[in-house]
């Protein structure tokens, strides 16, 4: 039961999101061996990001990540990707730079080392500096993405946070940028808490907050994006099981990304989830994911229409 995504034919809609669970060849291979149709590397920058310890705070499905970028340089990724046996899966490289020319250069570099596609990570929750420069206006965002698209021969996907997914002007700019897909949502700027005895923030820096609690935000973002764009949507944020995946597809997603749940349950869980959705589809007689894609969208009303309906 294949699905078309960003010009590629994927064997199923399950993608592994960028994160520590795809941090190197070994982990990427585990994702592929367990059936993921596509794996996204952690975000590759011009220089490797130093590791911090601990990188992840985890409590009852809440994840606070301080590891947003890869600890490997491009040269390391060249070695890692060469050893990956892709089989019938795809590997996208997530990238980030500080200027348009740096991002374009990185895009060409990851294409050179064997990426099947690119995810542009422009709106990182821990570093919002780009939003004061190359993302300051819709036009600047469009220009940034356009130049990357022009520079490479592989599909480009842009990852957006929830506030951009519902920003009509920014999504329109992305529609005109040449990007083939959009993924959302990014993790959210979060702090775990404050130790009130020591008057001390936990953790020491603002982290990327994700986990099942952000699923409602992500679902709303997917539904909104479905209304605003014809780009393929890859949903991410709080997805834990097959049922979640089907919910996102019914709101218009082409692919759905698993991330922090792999931390908790291990790579083998990817296979279980794929089995779960295949079983559900077969049980109900569906032969293609396109039959359920966006199926729930027409039940989503504007507030005014909902009020009238309830009133009746």
């Amino acid at each position: 039961m294949s699905i078309e995504f960003a010009g590629l034919s994927l064997k199923n809609p399950v993608v592994v999101a960028a994160g520590s669970w795809s941090s190197n060849q070994e982990n990427i291979q585990k994702c592929i061996d367990n059936g993921a149709a596509m794996v996204i590397t952690p975000t590759i920058c011009s220089e490797p990001t130093p590791a911090v310890n601990p990188e992840v705070f985890y409590k009852e499905n809440e994840v606070y990540s301080l590891s947003l970028y890869s600890h490997y340089a491009i040269e390391d990724w060249e070695d890692e990707l060469e050893k990956v046996e892709k089989k019938d899966s795809y590997v996208f490289c997530s990238i980030r730079g500080t200027t348009v020319s740096e991002i374009v250069f990185l895009a060409k570099q990851v294409e050179r080392i064997g990426a099947d596609g690119i995810q542009l990570n422009l709106f990182a929750p821990m570093d919002i500096s780009l939003e004061k420069s190359i993302l300051q206006t819709e036009e600047k965002l469009k220009n940034t993405v356009k130049q990357v698209v022009k520079a490479v021969h592989i599909p480009v996907m842009v990852r957006v946070p929830h506030y951009i997914a519902s920003n009509v002007n920014y999504v329109k700019a992305l529609n005109d940028s040449g990007a083939m897909a959009i993924s959302g949502i990014d993790s959210i700027r979060g702090l775990y808490g404050v130790d009130i005895e020591k008057a001390c923030a936990i953790p020491d820096a603002v982290a990327g907050y994700t986990g099942s609690h952000i699923k409602p935000i992500s679902l709303a973002a997917t539904a909104t994006l479905s209304q605003l764009t014809n780009m393929d949507i890859s949903s991410v944020g709080g997805i834990r099981n097959g049922r979640d995946i089907l919910e996102f597809i019914m709101l218009g997603a082409s692919t759905v990304q698993l991330g922090s749940v792999i931390l908790e349950k291990g790579h083998a869980y990817i296979g279980q989830v794929i089995e779960e959705i295949s079983y559900w589809m077969q049980e109900r007689g569906y032969s293609s994911y396109s039959e359920i894609k966006g199926k729930a969208l027409n039940t989503l009303l504007t507030f005014e229409k909902m009020a009238k309906k309830v009133g009746r």
Binding site: A73, I74, E82, T98, T99
Partner: protein, 339 residues
């Protein structure tokens, strides 16, 4: 058939094709065999590949103006972190910022058959660059004037750094800002960045000229003394220093003269270096990514070694970052994160 087509036919990346030619031992034997078979099948002659037989040794020459500045060391470290992964050696030469020395060095570099070069803050003319092209010598210019569309250039946008820092000072309500600057290769970009921020705020910026070599610790002490000796009403309320070392010199002199930083005068630095960490007052400064500059310059050079690259020169610009310390009166603890 070119690299990209061979890579597609062999089911490997373009990078792997390059390594089969330049560093065959770094490729898995079965992958190497597969690539060589495809090359043979399509009649591709490995020895005719550009870069495959130009020079017997894998050496890269790097020219920097001096050995003293820590930012140059950081730049060189960045280069080495990339070249060492590809089994290339790096030789570093010092030009003292003099064009004739640089020309002589390049002459020697060509004689020693280095495979390519990276030239930092170069004074080479277009004519010199043309000569290198005629000799098919691949090179990258690091930190030369942005907007050089004829050569492969990698640079930090120092003008944007100057803009961010000046704007920050103006937002903190400093009105009499003085730029301490030597007329070096970065001067035009820096003064334009300061000017842009000042024009937006509709104020002017004064400048104190520095002599060549006056931009270190002693220069900072000397310039601070000049400010101390000014009539109080003519003193600036904030100074933009060329670098951290100069700023430390200024802090030392101000302390000895009982002038408070930032109470009486704010001190900011346009270029960070490691020594800035030990400043007596935590410095507000621009972080210039010299290690990254080295890494990117080396990658650009390796691109030139491959036959796949387009003829259009590349320009990669890196963005510096504002780091807010205590030397300019900021009292918000995490504001730097939002800049």
């Amino acid at each position: 058939m070119n690299f990209r087509e061979i890579a597609a036919k062999a089911g490997v990346s373009v990078a792997t094709i390059s390594r089969v030619i330049n560093q065959p031992n770094s490729v898995l034997p079965e992958t190497r065999e597969k690539v060589l078979c495809v090359m043979k099948e399509v009649g591709y002659n490995v020895n005719s590949a550009k870069g495959g037989n130009v020079v017997p040794v894998n050496g890269i020459a790097v020219i920097v103006p001096s050995a003293i500045k820590t930012e140059y060391n950081s730049f060189i470290q960045g280069i080495i972190s990339v070249t060492s992964r590809r089994n290339f050696r790096v030789s570093v030469f010092y030009s003292n910022g003099e064009i004739e020395t640089e020309r002589q060095l390049i002459h020697d570099i060509l004689n020693y058959k280095y495979k390519g070069g990276i030239f930092m803050e170069t004074n080479l003319s277009n004519g010199d660059a043309h000569e290198l092209h005629l000799k098919s010598f691949p090179f990258v210019l690091a930190q030369c004037a942005a907007g050089n569309t004829k050569e492969n250039v990698c640079c930090i946008n120092v003008g944007e750094g100057a803009y961010l820092l000046t704007k920050h000072l103006l937002e903190l309500k400093y009105k009499h800002i003085m730029l301490m600057a030597e007329e070096d290769s970065a001067f035009v970009g820096i003064s334009e960045g300061c000017k842009r921020a000042a024009e937006e705020a509709k104020v002017g910026i004064n400048r104190m000229s520095l002599e060549k070599g006056e931009n270190g610790f002693k220069g900072g002490m000397k310039c601070a003394k000049r400010i101390v000796d000014m009539p109080k009403e003519k003193r600036p309320d904030a100074v933009l220093c060329p670098n951290d070392l100069f700023a430390i010199g200024m802090l030392r002199m101000f302390e000895s003269q009982k002038i408070q930083v930032p109470g009486d005068i704010a001190v900011a630095s346009l270029r960070d270096n490691e020594l800035g960490e030990v400043a007596s007052v935590e410095l507000t400064r621009i972080i210039c990514p010299f290690n990254r500059l080295g890494m990117m310059s080396a990658r650009m050079l390796f691109d030139l070694f491959e036959d796949e690259q387009e003829d259009i020169p590349q320009e990669v610009v890196l963005q510096p970052k504002l780091e807010i310390g205590k030397s300019c009166g900021n009292d918000r603890d995490i504001v730097a994160e939002f800049l």
